[in-house]
Structure formats: C-alpha cells, structure tokens
C-alpha cells in the first residue's frame, strides 16, 4: 500500500527525513500497524518510535488515532504533542 509518511519536530530529527514514500505490505491496515512496520525498518525509525506515548498522528491532515484505518495514497504524519500558541 503506497503511503506518504511525514515527520515533524523531534521525530523528523530522529528519522532523519521530513517525508518519505513507503509501500508497506498489505498486512499494514491501521496506524498501529504502520508504527510497528516503521519501528522495524531500521535503527533511526526504531529510535523515533521508541516511546509511543509521546507520538501523535494525523491522516490526510486530520488528527487521527492509532486505530485509524489507512487507505492507499494516504498522507500519514507523526509528531509529538503540539506546543503552539
């Protein structure tokens, strides 16, 4: 399933890129599946997702949950809890 994956703040720094195009296997159907897949990609991804309690996500520019179902072509963003204002 082709996905655009974006990273912000310290997740971007740990992964080392701000965006990547990935095609995880068909067994990846939710955000939780994608996090598991990414965690096993390499050391940098593993470091970024080490503490999942501090990771939030959005799917197609809407805040999403770990249970959100993914579809081909989705834009999935991972980031820490927001701190604007």
């Amino acid at each position: 399933m082709p996905l655009s994956v974006l990273y912000f703040a310290w997740l971007r720094e740990r992964v080392g890129v701000s965006e990547e195009e990935l095609s995880p296997p068909d067994s990846v159907t939710t955000v939780a599946d994608l996090v598991l897949y990414l965690s096993n990609l390499d050391q940098r991804h593993a470091d970024a997702f080490k503490n999942q309690a501090t990771v939030r996500c959005a799917v197609n520019q809407e805040f999403a949950e770990i249970t959100t179902v993914l579809r081909p072509g989705d834009e999935v963003a991972f980031f820490p809890p927001v701190t604007g204002g």
Binding site: F63, V82, G84
Partner: protein, 154 residues
C-alpha cells in the same frame, strides 16, 4: 469568516484591530490575546537561558486546523469577527508569536472566545516549539498537562 494567517513576519496589532472593526458599528467589545517569546526563568541555570524560539508547523494541515477552531468559536459565541495570526520560524525573546482577536456585541462573549481560541490553539493546531539556549543546546518544548486542562474546560 475569520481572518487566519500563518506567517514568518511580525504582525501590527493596531492594523489588525482596524482591519477587524473598520466600518462596523455593531461591535461592542473586542478581546485580544498576544503571545510573546519570553526568557523562561523556570529553567534556572544561566546556560539554559532561552536565546531564541523556533516554531515548526505542518503547512498542509495548519490552516484547516485553525479554521476548525475559529469556526467553533464563531458558532459558540456568535462572534462578529475573529482574527488568528500565528508566526512560524525563528523568533527572539520579546517578539510576538501569536495574535488572537475576537469581536462581539458584548464583553463576556469577546473575552471568553479569546480565551477559548488561545487554549485550543495550544492543543489542537499542529505547531511545535523548539527552544535554543545560551550554551547552544536546543530542546523541543514538551506539551504541558496544564494546557490540556485549560483546553478541556471549554
């Protein structure tokens, strides 16, 4: 319809108020909040004195997220006008970060909507702050439970 801007440059508060109220005779109260970069004494150590703040955001999502918040404020308080300007990029202590204006017929709605807007902006819009310190270190600011509590009271 709210005026929303995400920009690297500073805003002019008088200009923004004039823009919101020009030609209007129905506005009876205007709430205003301005967020400013401060040197955080809470860090204690001189070497951890904040020398700059960098705001990162998620460009494709930011305007939509802020629109959700201003729509909610307009719906709840029947605002006559609303402005949210959020700066991104690197800022120095003393510089403005964010401006919230809420116009209403009466003061309570204007004041409450202003509080609501800044509380929700802090917890429901995709911005991240990174502090730079005197000793060259940089740290991403962690979200605070007190901000979540402030947003939840609305």
């Amino acid at each position: 319809m709210a005026r929303i801007s995400v920009q690297t440059y500073d805003f002019d508060i008088a200009d923004e108020i004039a823009r919101l109220t020009r030609g209007r005779t129905d506005i009876g109260g205007l709430g205003c909040f301005i967020g400013v970069v401060r040197i955080d004494k809470a860090h204690g150590l001189v070497e951890r004195t904040v020398t700059a703040l960098t705001l990162e955001h998620y460009p494709a999502m930011t305007l939509r997220a802020i629109s959700r918040i201003t729509d909610e404020a307009e719906r709840r308080w029947g605002l006559l006008g609303c402005t949210v300007i959020h700066r991104v990029g690197r800022m120095l202590p003393g510089e403005n970060i964010v401006l919230v204006l809420a116009a209403s017929a009466h003061r309570q709605a204007a004041l409450d909507a202003t509080g609501f807007l800044i509380d929700w902006l802090k917890t429901k819009a995709p911005f991240w702050k990174r502090e730079e310190y005197q000793n060259g270190d940089g740290v991403w600011v962690e979200a605070r439970d007190t901000d979540d509590a402030a947003a939840a009271r609305w």
